[in-house]
Subunit: 479 residues, 2 copies
């Protein structure tokens, strides 16, 4: 494809995308395909000769789109949002054209410097303590590919400190032997990525009980720590969650932070979804105690209208991270980058990285803080509206507190709730996923669509209510 | 920005990108900025109110583009290529619009299924053994964010096997204690990501000497293994490189594979750059011995005209990897995905992933195997042409064998070579990076530009030759 054809195909793709969004409501949210559907549609042998763009687009229509789960559909209520917006995708389009591997200042100065600038913008917008601002403290923010990667990176920094300390006590022991003493704590409602991180780094992880508000409390943590210390283990890292995946609850980081602070334990906060809401000052009571936190991550692509992969992590001590992962072969050095700007590659596991900050910058510029706040507040308000509709019907039970864009609910028993969920999903009108909280099987209703409104909420409610009536009647008749 | 404005802004961006490529030769390849340049151009406070797209584009022109290192410039000869192509960026544009988090079959069936299909296409195109094809063997391919991530993933799979074996001998030892026995080998010319992976996973890594063709040989490896076994260590993983970063050399995987095979040591091959060349059958002699390899990675975004992040890894035993990283909380399960399709999230460290396969598919379709072969062969032929020009001038010494799109060279001493490099780079006409091989400081001339031709090669050669004359004359006068 030459430039001339690109000008034409690019225009067509712009229209294809705009048409997609304008007509998305007419699609099934979850595709009507079975596993293996694509085998019939994609030849098993790769093509020897070039094909036309027209044919490729025909196959996108015939083979690809019918197999897409439409995360941008108004009735996609599963997982958490995975956002985009026009300014974000336009910026990313340009990033793909520039195609630079921004692992160091020299490899793309604009990418490194803009990332530092927007991480400080975000720290400011979110009301984070000064220690997390590049321009003010010893810490700062950087993007990663995922929340899981953010968690591993913070665990690596904490592990670095812990092993340094243990090596001073056991100077002849191998680092890997000392590793066997380390232990991490998290709520049983924390995201599964903490268990995966533990498997990857061979560090013990312990899931702790939460209180009746689904919150991990300081005393629970302290008891677990004391138990493990008696067994000769070395507690060095706590993961607290603001906005858990199963039920959107908030661990008590005020209490947890005090426990960690007294014992010099690294406290990391996973605020993957809820974190974006802190751009609204009225939401910040949920992060009381943030001053005792060593690191926190927010998936900007979850609620801030930026495309993935925009996982942001802030850490209060840049030096630790750089000590943990710094590698400087000659081919990566540059005489103009002897300050911290050079070390972005040492802030993450992967060396190379896309120019991720351009879309972050474009979205903040295009929406302004006010526009992003309006977006968050709209989702929170509509979740309360959905909750109020549900509370008006005694057959439903709302689980947890509705603070964000998430409403968790169940029918009177797990069996009927499971049946409701599978019926809802197989209707193709809506897509939701369940969670397990204590003994309850619950359905999570998450507001993901940027332009969500009261009409669509009422539509959701009517679909759910009517299907519940059918299921409950059927259940009554069967008895 | 609403759909109507997007249709306009999208068209403008398409033209902006086409103009960028049509006029890229007129730009400095390395930007004329100093560290910190962006501070003056981006306000320290984030904007409260929305701004117009016009203003954002004005700032892209004023603040961003002047700070970009142009990896797509004809005279970008640093690192290795970081490619794009029109079909790739168009497919990625659509991916950003669909914005799905393809961590499981249900989260986006098309993303999971197309990834499996194109990984098999590529295995076919590259002539990989049957064991690496999803449709034929126990193994298969998957994409990751980076070569470093591919390496860690293969190390995790190998570690899983090694610890299982050691646990059967030392049933009461903690996994982390057993970890201290593990050791990894690689050539001293291997990419620095192996040292970083060792730091991340707390596994000892040992750089081994290479022969006079810059190749790691079987007997060198075997001697190192025997030494370490005598010390009570457990060799479990070897990284061999096809196309090293410093000099483009090939480790002898035939010999290394035999050593590993006899001792049941996991052999991983990093073919990040050179791997794409195996789509040309005449290049495959460089991968003789591939049948004894357990896993290999290729950065498709390095030489196959696909955008990052398209790091592909093939592994001969899927089950090991899944056992290593499988986590199945309720909210990630789906009744329709009980086969291996469900487990893509367990193939990588991060849970979520972009729909990376769409651009891979679009590029293979659009170029065909024949078009991609033509691209690789053009770069290889032009590198030989550049080498022939250089060999005609006795002041230059070519280092290593020119097999790919890389020519390494030096002047008669390190000091003059360093001076030549810094003068070339500060001229803004060309960008190259050095490498250290034995005691030599060498300059790497890499062909990155898709449309490279003889005229541009001659232009490169004339710039280099003329600057060398100036430096050598000046040096003569100084004496």
């Amino acid at each position: 494809m030459d430039s001339k054809e690109f000008r034409q195909r690019g225009r067509e793709m712009v229209d294809y995308i705009a048409d997609y969004f304008e007509n998305i409501e007419q699609r099934r949210v979850f595709p009507d395909v079975q596993p293996g559907y694509l085998k019939e549609l994609v030849p098993s042998e790769p093509p020897q000769c070039p094909d036309s763009w027209d044919n490729i687009m025909k196959d996108i229509d015939k083979a690809i789109l019918p197999g897409v789960t439409h995360w941008q559909h108004p009735h996609f209520h599963a997982f958490y949002p995975w956002t985009q917006s026009y300014p974000s995708i336009l910026a990313d389009f340009l990033v793909d054209a520039l195609s630079s591997a921004g692992f160091s200042w020299a490899s793309c100065p604009a990418s490194t410097e803009l990332e530092i600038a927007v991480m400080d913008w975000l720290a400011n917008m979110l009301g984070l303590p000064e220690k997390f601002h590049h321009c003010r403290g010893a810490g700062g923010g950087v993007t990663q590919n995922s929340a899981g990667e953010c968690l591993i990176v913070s665990m690596l920094a904490a592990r670095h400190n812990a092993l340094k300390h243990l090596s001073s006590i056991y100077p002849n022991e191998d680092a890997a032997v000392l590793l066997s003493k380390l232990v991490i704590y998290h709520s049983k409602l924390a995201h599964s990525c903490v268990e995966k991180a533990g498997m990857v780094l061979l560090i013990k992880t312990k899931g702790l009980d939460f209180d009746d508000k689904h919150s991990l409390r300081g005393h629970t943590l302290e008891t677990a720590i004391e138990d493990d210390e008696r067994k000769g283990l070395y507690p060095f890292f706590v993961l607290a969650t603001l906005g858990t995946t199963p039920v959107g609850s908030f661990d008590n980081i005020q209490e947890i932070g005090e426990v960690c602070n007294r014992r010099r334990i690294w406290l990391h906060v996973d605020a993957a979804y809820a974190g974006s809401s802190f751009i609204c000052p009225e939401m910040r009571t949920q992060m009381n105690g943030i001053k005792n936190v060593n690191s926190l991550n927010i998936n900007l692509h979850k609620w801030m209208l930026m495309n993935s992969e925009s996982s942001a992590i802030w850490i209060d001590d840049k030096k630790v991270l750089i000590e943990t992962m710094a590698i400087e072969p000659l081919y990566l050095q540059h005489h103009l980058s002897e300050n911290f700007l050079s070390s972005k590659k040492n802030w993450s596991i992967s060396l190379c990285r896309k120019f991720r900050s351009l879309k972050i910058w474009a979205v903040i510029r295009s929406y302004g803080i006010s526009g992003l706040q309006r977006h968050i507040r709209n989702h929170c308000k509509l979740a309360k509206y959905f909750e109020s509709l549900m509370l008006s019907d005694s057959r439903f039970q709302v689980i947890g507190t509705v603070n964000l864009g998430l409403v968790c609910f169940k029918l009177k028993n797990n069996h009927l709730t499971e049946k409701l969920l599978s019926t809802l999903n197989s209707s193709g009108k809506m897509y939701l996923v369940p969670a397990a909280v204590n003994e309850d099987f619950i359905i999570r209703y998450v507001i993901c669509y940027e332009k969500m409104n009261e009409r669509l909420i009422e539509e959701s409610w009517n679909i759910i209510r009517n299907l519940a009536s059918e299921i409950l009647n059927q259940n009554y008749e069967e008895k």
